[in-house]
């Protein structure tokens, strides 16, 4: 662990005259409370937003403040209960017909208005595609700092600074980022990095309805939307995942992995290299800049084991690696490693699994490999 002795110490306030004149001078003591911005969809508040109630609770308890859920849109009032059941202490709602359609700038300015009025010290935004679009606008409009893709949070009770912890540059290191002189502090975290808190239907909390006089006119407007039908389960929720990397050698290698996945009811993902090569779509990238998986079984095939990739399998259960290079770093990061060419292993694995499957269906009580 290496502490840095940067000149900007957390306790020392930068005098207003030394601040960028574009920034409004603020007293951090005027800012209290932890917010989670709730992104909504047809089925209610999206899970990535509810997951952020987990770190929000941790920080709020440390700082002895409330967790406030924030809902913006039209017809979102009834979702406040969902926020509270998952752990928010109170919910701030802006339910307005003029906010029926999302536009990043318009939603951003509504959040900015709320932050200026209620002054929270920390704002969490889910790092969904929409959240990653919206959050930096809000932060910048407030001339506040923002940290993307945090994987953990902690707070310093004395200075009330929130440590926003993220893996920069290839996920070998974790950086502790803090915002010593500015409030609010803002951060995003990717979906499934934090667990969904347990739902408690008996929880109660205050719902504050906020009216907005002026809703800015949208200068970016949705014209049409075509939903892409999902062909398979999202990788981040799969029980078994098969991953492929550059070591497959050819895009055809993924066909073998698909066959294996079919037998296992698994979802196929890949390393960033496989995505860069166009072998697999980006939404199935496993790693720091892709998805974090929580599979019970992860089978990594032809993946070298770069820190960037392994970051996405931290929460996976048993990790099996198949690689013909005995020096591949993945072998020191897997539970079970097989030094072999996947072209020899995968067809045999499929054969044996199909056999096992038939035995199981016949009702053989204790399968032995």
């Amino acid at each position: 662990m290496s502490w840095s002795g940067t000149e900007t110490s957390a306790t020392q306030q930068v005098p207003c005259k030394d601040l960028c004149p574009e920034w409004e001078c603020r007293n951090p003591d005027d800012y209290r409370g932890v917010w989670v911005i709730g992104e909504t969809g047809p089925e209610g508040i999206l899970e990535p937003s509810l997951q952020l109630l987990t770190p929000a609770r941790k920080i709020a308890d440390k700082l002895k403040v409330k967790v406030t859920g924030v809902l913006i849109g039209y017809g979102v009032r009834d979702l406040a209960k969902q926020f509270i059941e998952y752990g928010a202490d109170e919910v701030l709602v802006v339910d307005d017909e003029r906010l029926k359609e999302y536009s990043p700038q318009v939603y951003g300015e509504v959040v900015v208005h709320l932050v200026k009025k209620y002054r929270p010290e920390m704002v969490f935004v889910a790092g969904t595609m929409r959240g990653r679009e919206l959050a930096p606008y809000i932060a910048n409009h407030l001339r506040a700092g923002i940290t993307a893709d945090c994987t953990d949070f902690d707070a310093d009770e004395k200075t009330r600074d929130v440590f926003q912890i993220r893996p920069p540059f290839g996920a070998v290191l974790l950086a502790y980022i803090r915002t010593p002189n500015r409030r609010p502090q803002m951060a995003t975290a990717r979906p499934n990095v934090f667990p969904l808190p347990p739902r408690d239907p008996s929880r109660t909390g205050e719902v504050i309805e906020e009216k907005i006089d002026h809703v800015p006119k949208a200068r970016a407007r949705l014209v049409s939307r075509k939903v892409i039908p999902r062909t398979e389960a999202p990788i981040e929720k799969a029980e078994i995942v098969v991953g492929g990397g550059k070591g497959l050698g050819t895009p055809e290698g993924f066909k073998q992995l698909e066959e294996l996945a079919k037998v296992l009811g698994a979802v196929v993902g890949g390393s960033r290299r496989a995505v860069d090569l166009g072998w697999i779509p980006h939404e199935r990238q496993i790693g720091q800049t892709g998805k974090s998986i929580k599979a019970v079984i992860y089978i990594a095939v032809g993946i070298s084991g770069a820190a960037q990739h392994m970051f996405g399998v931290r929460e996976a259960g048993v990790v099996v690696a198949i690689n013909k290079d005995p020096a591949a770093p993945i072998f020191s990061q897997a539970d079970y490693g097989v030094v072999a060419d996947y072209r020899d292993v995968i067809p045999n694995l499929i054969k044996r699994l199909v056999q096992l499957k038939e035995e199981l269906k016949k009702g053989s009580p204790e399968p032995k490999g």
Partner: protein
């Protein structure tokens, strides 16, 4: 159309070091490249110019060696490139970076001609924050949208874009001037052409440098001073405990047998495997 496109000069590898004192990147000795995710943005800007006329101006807030990256973009067909470089810009977080970029766009707008559109790559390979597009839009108060993979002008002069999300393809309409961020890997960038390289050599004004003398920004707003976030410390990523059992099999079947046995030995994995096979 006058289109400004952003470029970041990033380490060409993932294995880079961080200065423990400042928490910022050590660039010495690390070969750098144009951020690969900026190339689809450059390509989209060039296609818009080719279709509607005008010019594409590349900007980059980077140390002087980034000139090589700007030369590459000129080789692709960018009309001119401006390097924004000054010691007082060093150590900037995304807010302070977008401040310099926004002010460079303002200066282009004032001195070179009206800017209609600014285009950025979706994110960078070295920090992947995806902040810059939205932050620059915030400084300029321009409308913006992310994840764009195509753009065209409608008869009323508004910009229409197609953007790709995980679960939908959307068409959006934006009033100009506007900012768009282009989806990663969405458009294949054109190669560098000899013609453009020659054109660059014969027109030395293609590549210019603005230091803070030209931009005239308050140094309290740039670099480390203009950055609300600081890296307080860095630690190694804690290792995940794994069994690390490595087996060299006799053949493919032996490997398959060993893997299945290993999975059946683990309580949770065995349960998941049997469940999956029974259901499948």
């Amino acid at each position: 159309m006058r289109i400004v496109v952003g470029m970041k000069w990033v380490p060409g590898t993932q294995s880079v070091r961080i200065d423990p004192k400042t928490g910022t990147l050590i660039r010495e000795g690390v070969p750098s490249i144009v951020n690969p995710h900026d190339l689809p943005a450059v390509e989209l800007a060039l296609r818009l110019r080719d279709r509607y006329g005008g010019e594409v101006i590349a900007i980059s807030m980077s140390p002087p060696p980034a000139v090589k990256g700007l030369e590459y973009l000129v080789g692709m067909g960018v009309d001119r490139a401006i390097l924004l470089t000054d010691r007082v810009y060093a150590g900037a977080d995304t807010l302070a970076t977008s401040y310099v970029l926004a002010n460079a766009i303002r200066k282009i707008d004032r001195e070179i001609g009206k800017v209609d559109l600014a285009v950025f790559g979706q994110e960078t390979t070295d920090s992947s924050t995806a902040h810059i597009g939205a932050q620059t839009a915030s400084w300029l108060e321009w409308p913006y949208i992310y994840y764009v993979r195509d753009a065209w002008l409608a008869d009323d002069g508004k910009l229409h874009v197609e953007r790709i999300l995980e679960d939908a393809i959307e068409e959006w309409e934006l009033e100009l001037p506007a900012i768009i961020s282009v989806a990663m890997r969405s458009i294949k960038p054109r190669p560098v052409s000899l013609y453009n390289k020659v054109r660059f050599k014969t027109r030395p004004d293609t590549l210019i440098t603005w230091t803070n003398k030209e931009l005239g920004l308050d140094t309290r707003c740039t670099g480390l001073k203009g950055s609300p976030t600081i890296v307080a410390k860095t630690v190694d990523v804690p290792e995940v405990p794994r069994k690390k059992v490595v087996y060299t099999p006799k053949d493919g079947d032996d490997a398959a047998r060993w893997i299945i046995e290993a999975l059946l030995k683990d309580e949770k994995a065995s349960k998941a495997l049997i469940k999956a096979l029974k259901e499948g």
